[in-house]
């Protein structure tokens, strides 16, 4: 009997096989069907295996060692509850993206640039989650990064995509370097690279602190923590839309997995201040991410920025879990960790859904700029409906899933008065405020995303020609919308499914939820708080249908079309509609002045002149200008100086080598 993990490794091998196959057939017409069909099948099978492992044998740990990689280490793989949960996320996302790709892939101008890397990307993400030693982990991590980089560069001739790819590559290398150093620290002087050995070792306080910082840099740069997020809004939208969905919905989660694996599993008992650091970064990321998203008018970039916000929410919950774990409050820690993992699952659902929707809009209109969209609800009613579901879910409105995980996070925040440290007591409610702010801003942001894109009147000719997308894409989106609703009205199922993960990482779990009457969820005790998604759903459904019934019964049946109110303008062009920028203006005026150094300038022509008045808005990316421009400038300066080394004489080169050698020998001779 082969163990589960070897079964999963066969799945990874099948992905790699599909990648090789894709290279061979990618120029043929049937390649799209073949490759996405294969990845759909493999992902679905791996999803089934992982889900069965998570539900059927929650405490089980399955390991296998392959004689690959470094000869004296081998490649260790391991499946436990945590990796099983993330495998579920990865492969569910992979399967839906493949289904979407079956339809979307036909519009791909250069399929040979996408098809081989898509299965490889999936294989890389699966391998990261399965890896059980530092070497395999880093190798898979880098493989994942490079495969996704190749996908980002698929449309390399489009404007800005090369820059996006370059920045992504630099940031990914930086992240891997940080991870390498973190694992080096954890491995200690003996160089024991298996996770088992790291788990057994008790790192000293300083090492643990350094490892935490390095993990925040390494996993945080991949996940998109501010200020390491700069590559994300460039790279995610540059890829084809189903890949954007995978990168935003799934790859950032793999980064979260890396963080959880090291900080919660390998590092042992956390220090209480580590919670403060993670909380602070998470709160900052959540608010800044969504503020960036609000300023954005490119639909896919808006979604990418919103990913940053959601990563912030996840990290806030993780920080809470760390703080509670450090203070031996296992039930609260389990609650916070469950909230984080639940949000991981939810975000993979609705962010994939939204990227699919954006991809559908992009295929039928060729437009990502919201200022040129509008009125799509009449032409793409089904896409609009599922996009609306995604928007409602991500805005954390009941009865959908986003509400549940954010509600759980707030329940965990409400536990903070029991924390002993004053730092945390003050910090946690403040971060809770940030979280509430970001949730409200997210709602505004997605009102804008949906309203400008789908409502109103078409702003360009391409939109007027739009038609509904193909059935595969619709099927993928409807599956995700259904999952959003299901997870929203049956949260107890998910929470109970997550209990083995919290049990293995924290040693405690949330109370069993499926035993509650009427599918309620009760995080701590009935007396404190409870939520019933089903009830809310039923209430909304009944009251809405009742209202509809009353209106249709007692009001006129006739459909009336009147002229839209034109704000007093006689000739209303679509350009006179509310735009994305004008929608965000109040928020920009409130927050943008300090967050983006936004400045508005109004040029009024003198009375009597016929020149138009102009309103110019200037927005700065403060993070980029503060952190990255000086670094880029310094690197540029250093290269300029070092460039002279390129043109020395042969004798000078020899002299340099000679002097270097002598210096090293001198150091050796003088070393005490």
């Amino acid at each position: 009997m082969t163990s589960i993990v070897s079964l999963l490794l066969w799945g990874v091998a099948a992905f790699l096989g599909a990648a090789v196959l894709a290279v061979a057939v990618s120029r043929r017409g049937s390649a799209t069907h073949l490759v996405y069909g294969a990845t759909l099948g493999i992902s679905a099978a791996m999803f089934a295996i992982a889900a069965a492992a998570l539900i059927g044998d929650p405490a089980g740990v399955s390991t296998v060692t392959l004689p690959l990689g470094l000869p004296w280490i081998g490649a260790h793989f391991r499946l436990d509850a945590l990796s099983a949960f993330f495998l579920v996320v990865v492969n569910l996302g992979g399967a839906v993206a493949s289904l979407y790709g079956l339809g979307y892939g036909h519009h791909e101008p250069a399929p040979h640039r996408v098809l081989p890397f898509f299965p490889a990307f999936l294989a890389g993400m699966n391998l990261v989650v399965l890896a059980d030693d530092a070497f395999t982990f880093l190798l898979s991590w880098e493989f994942m990064s490079l495969a996704s980089w190749a996908l980002v560069m698929a449309h390399h001739r489009e404007q800005d995509n090369t820059r996006a790819g370059y920045i992504y590559l630099v940031m990914a290398s930086f992240g891997t370097l940080a991870l390498l150093l973190a694992f080096g620290l954890l491995a200690g002087p003996d160089g024991t690279y298996t996770f088992d050995a790291m788990r057994a070792a008790e790192p000293s306080g300083l090492v643990a602190a350094a490892a935490l910082v390095l993990m925040l840099l390494g996993a945080g740069s991949k996940a998109g923590l501010v200020p390491l997020h700069v590559w994300l809004p460039l790279a995610h939208p540059a890829a084809p839309s189903h890949v954007s969905a995978l990168m935003s919905g799934v790859m950032t989660k793999v980064a979260v997995y890396g963080f959880i694996r090291v900080i919660f599993d390998l590092l042992g008992e956390p220090a209480w201040w580590s919670g403060v650091v993670v909380l602070f970064l998470g709160g900052l990321t959540a608010v800044l991410g969504i503020l960036y998203a609000l300023m954005e008018k490119d639909l896919k970039r808006l979604l990418a920025y919103s990913t940053i916000e959601n990563i912030g929410v996840i990290f806030v919950s993780l920080g809470l879990a760390l703080a509670f774990k450090a203070n031996a409050m296992p039930s609260a820690a389990a609650l916070a960790l469950t909230a984080a993992l639940f949000h991981v699952l939810n975000h993979s659902f609705f962010k994939s859904l939204l990227f699919f929707g954006a991809g559908a809009v992009l295929t039928v209109t060729g437009e990502r700029n919201m200022e040129k969209l509008g009125g799509l609800i009449h032409r793409m009613p089904l896409t609009s409906f599922v996009f609306l579901v995604g928007c409602v879910s991500i805005s954390a409105l009941p009865p959908f899933n986003g509400f549940v995980s954010e509600w759980l996070a707030f329940q965990a925040i409400l536990q903070s008065p029991d924390l002993p440290q004053w730092g945390l007591k003050v910090m946690v409610p403040a971060v809770g405020g940030l979280l509430a702010l970001s949730a409200a801003l997210a709602a505004a942001c997605f009102v804008k995303a949906f309203g400008i894109t789908f409502l109103g009147r078409p702003r360009s000719a391409a939109v007027e020609q739009a038609r509904e997308v193909d059935r595969y894409s619709l099927a993928a989106m409807f599956i995700l919308a259904g999952l959003c609703l299901l997870a929203g009205i049956l949260p107890g199922l998910v929470i109970d499914g997550l209990s083995p993960v919290t049990l293995s990482l924290i040693g405690n779990r949330m109370p069993v939820q499926m035993a509650q009457p009427w599918l309620s969820i009760v995080p701590i005790a009935e007396s404190r708080s409870s939520y019933n998604g089903l009830l809310v759903f039923v209430f909304i459904a009944i009251s809405a249908s009742l209202a509809a019934f009353v209106i249709h019964r007692f009001a006129s049946h006739a459909l009336r079309r009147g002229p839209a109110w034109g704000c007093g303008f006689p000739d209303v062009t679509p350009a006179a509609q509310y735009t994305a920028v004008s929608f965000a203006q109040p928020i920009r005026r409130v927050f943008g002045t300090f967050a983006f150094r936004a400045r508005e300038k109004v040029e009024m022509p003198p009375p009597g002149a016929t020149a138009p008045a102009r309103l110019t808005v200037e927005i700065h990316d403060v993070v980029w200008e503060t952190f990255y421009q000086p670094i880029a400038g310094a690197v540029g300066y250093a290269t300029e100086k070092l460039n002279r080394l390129q043109f020395l004489t042969i004798r000078r080169y020899l002299t340099l080598v000679f002097l270097y050698l002598v210096t090293l020998l001198l150091v050796l001779a003088l070393w005490p």
Binding site: F647, T649, I650, L654, T655, F658, L665, L668, A669
Partner: protein, 220 residues
């Protein structure tokens, strides 16, 4: 280890360092090559003595290789190259001889200090040998650095390799195949460099490596 064998090995290795110093102040190419031949002869003697002391008979082969190739074949080849190129009158040190000698003394002192420090528990013969070998390597590098002419850079390179052979034979149990392959690679390097010399000469009318830089259009 009796005192005499040690003294003789010491003498020969020290002689090798001395000959390296002689190389530093030769400003004519023929003289430099003659000194190099002397260097190779002393090396052959030293290796042969090591073979005798260590009773490692394969080292005699190494000594013979050193004698035949480095003391005879290569110097004769270099002589002919220089004659064909017509550059035997060139004076071609880039740095003044006095400062070069001072640098050489410093390098020898450095390698002595270093080797005696890092190998306190080694066999005294091997220890001294290693110290001398490192000095010879550094002096060979110094020859390469302070010369302009490609031929003398080749000579510096060869003398550097002599230091490597000395180190290798001083350590007990170095397999013959290593030494042979080192010697062989040097021979290949000699041939390749020789061919290049003629190519450079054909192209630029000079074997001064500065001509290469002029060709690349750069200042020195």
């Amino acid at each position: 280890m009796n005192g005499l064998t040690f003294d003789i090995a010491h003498l020969l290795a020290g002689g090798l360092v001395l000959v390296s110093f002689m190389m530093l102040y030769q400003d004519r190419l023929f003289a430099l090559i003659n000194v190099f031949a002397l260097h190779a002869i002393v090396l052959a003697l030293s290796v042969a003595w090591q073979a005798y002391v260590q009773e490692a008979h394969h080292l005699y082969v190494t000594a013979a290789i050193a004698l035949i190739f480095k003391a005879i074949v290569i110097p004769v080849g270099l002589h002919r190259i220089i004659q064909r190129l017509g550059i035997h009158r060139d004076i071609e040190t880039a740095v003044g001889i006095g400062s070069t000698m001072l640098a050489g003394i410093g390098l020898v002192a450095l390698s002595m200090v270093l080797m005696l420090r890092v190998t306190p528990e080694a066999d005294p013969l091997a220890r001294e040998d290693l110290a001398f070998a490192l000095s010879i390597i550094l002096l060979g590098l110094l020859v390469m650095v302070t010369r302009r002419n490609a031929v003398s850079q080749v000579v510096g390179f060869m003398s550097l390799e002599n230091g490597l052979v000395l180190a290798a034979t001083g350590a007990k149990g170095m397999p013959l195949v290593v030494e042979i392959s080192v010697a062989f690679s040097i021979l290949i390097a000699f041939i390749v460099i020789g061919v290049f010399l003629f190519r450079i000469r054909e192209r630029f009318d000079s074997v001064d490596v500065g001509a290469l830089d002029d060709y690349r259009g750069e200042r020195r």
